[in-house]
Symmetry: C2
Subunit: 276 residues, 2 copies
């Protein structure tokens, strides 16, 4: 079984391969992405090939999750800035696989005639490692492979045109996922990690994953009552205060802006925004 403490997915030619972080190198694995490594229970071979981490082009850690579930209104400071009440249950919405991009890919904005209200939301993303249904708290954490960083790219005018967020959340290619999957052996239940977003070097969001209303175990346990979570499923746990929509005046991502989303112990996504 491959050492699964730090995994990534890299573009190689026109396809992708999973990789294991080994110092400054990425050791290429015989699997298309980290999702496939998890589905195989880590029973994948190394190809013998390695590439320098510096020059690797990262793909989304999981390229085609069966499910991408996001939790909304889950940091107390963000709940306050959006003018919402403290929730009694987790608020879920979805994305689809083609919402995801790699940790350093260009973030291609929608055409300006569709929307200019493109916002950032740094989030701790859970990646599921083994199938789980009707989990106890202990089973919930045991089903988690580890964590990565997601920008929950949000198009605010579409998000707010009806009661349901999905239209503003499922836009193609606005949600970097990466750079690496860091295992539960290292990060435990994912609490106590500094989380931050920056636009052009200016800090926009800064908090700790200890500020989550519903923590990792709560969320996995609750979702597992609804559906079987499967290896490679991605669950983004919500974003702290400081989003563009809540600023005065509101701020949006524009052509040329660089969005950096980082979480202590995992690393950062850093994506340049470009117009199509």
């Amino acid at each position: 079984m491959v050492d699964m403490s730090r995994l990534c997915t890299v573009h190689i030619g026109t396809s992708t391969r999973a990789g294991r972080i080994d110092g400054d190198d990425i050791v290429i694995l015989d699997a298309a992405d980290v999702g496939d490594v998890l589905r195989a229970g880590g029973e994948v071979a190394e190809t013998g090939e390695a590439i320098p981490r510096e020059t690797a082009r990262l793909a989304p850690v999981v390229t085609a999750p069966d499910k991408v579930v996001c939790v909304g209104v889950n940091y107390l400071d963000h709940i306050e800035e959006m003018g919402r009440d403290r929730p009694s249950a987790p608020t879920y919405f979805a994305k689809f696989a083609n919402s995801l991009i790699g940790a350093t890919d260009d973030l291609v904005l929608p055409p300006v005639e569709v929307s200019t209200h493109i916002d950032w939301e740094v989030e701790l993303a859970i990646v599921i490692g083994s199938p789980v249904r009707h989990a106890s708290p202990r089973e919930a954490l045991a089903a988690v492979a580890g964590y990565t960083v997601m920008n929950d790219g949000s198009v605010r005018d579409f998000q707010r045109r009806t009661t349901q967020f999905l239209a503003g959340k499922m836009f193609e290619g606005l949600s970097p996922l990466g750079p690496v999957l860091v295992g539960v052996d290292e990060l435990g239940d994912g609490s106590g990690l500094k989380i931050r977003s920056e636009v052009d070097g200016v800090v926009k969001q800064q908090s700790s994953t200890s500020e989550l209303c519903f923590n990792v175990v709560d969320i996995v346990q609750d979702l597992s009552a609804i559906t079987t979570l499967m290896p490679g499923d991605v669950i983004a746990t919500g974003t702290p205060g400081g989003v563009g929509a809540a600023r005065t005046p509101p701020e949006w991502l524009t052509d040329g802006a660089v969005l950096r989303c980082s979480i202590e112990g995992i690393g950062a996504t850093e994506n340049r925004c470009v117009l199509p």
Copy 2:
């Protein structure tokens, strides 16, 4: 290219195969499901095998769509019974592939300690045939392969515990999709079709797809501004009045109940509800 006017997906052993309806028979195709037939642009061979339609066990028409998008509050009579205003834009929420079951599979209810508020919603489901982004109305309809029937299985207490419907909509195995995909050559833009649900032979919902606020072309065009729709993507267009939650007293699906959802020109799903 295979005749794509009436396609289905059948369970064969522990896997699935696409099939072409040929009178009382299903001609088995060299593809895992209708999604794969569409992704291949219909360029799949017949295997030479055929099975009687009567004895075939149907799988979801598309077993693993990249996206399942549902439109809420889209029939005027349902909007009235749920006490909502007429919408100015389509309301979208999601399901995932494991929400889907075949047209005659058992509909396995959640354990009663999770929820007993299981409701029906018969819907015309669009199946996308070719990739489409930023579509004109003409391009929108050209991207549609055809239509099938979906029950948008809904767990009302979970749907209503927060602002976002997803928790009540993504339950595993509550959403039959079938029995067959009927092509645009036969059904055009999907308007003017009688649509009905029955529980134990009693009609619960009865309307026409002409009552849609946002029609098939509107929905595909609008979604294509947000993301690239891909072959096999499923879009459920909303449900007419008569759902269980809006009845006095409310009615729910219970152990042993038979739910039949039918649309003129397509056929019916008929699923027996069972406890796990």
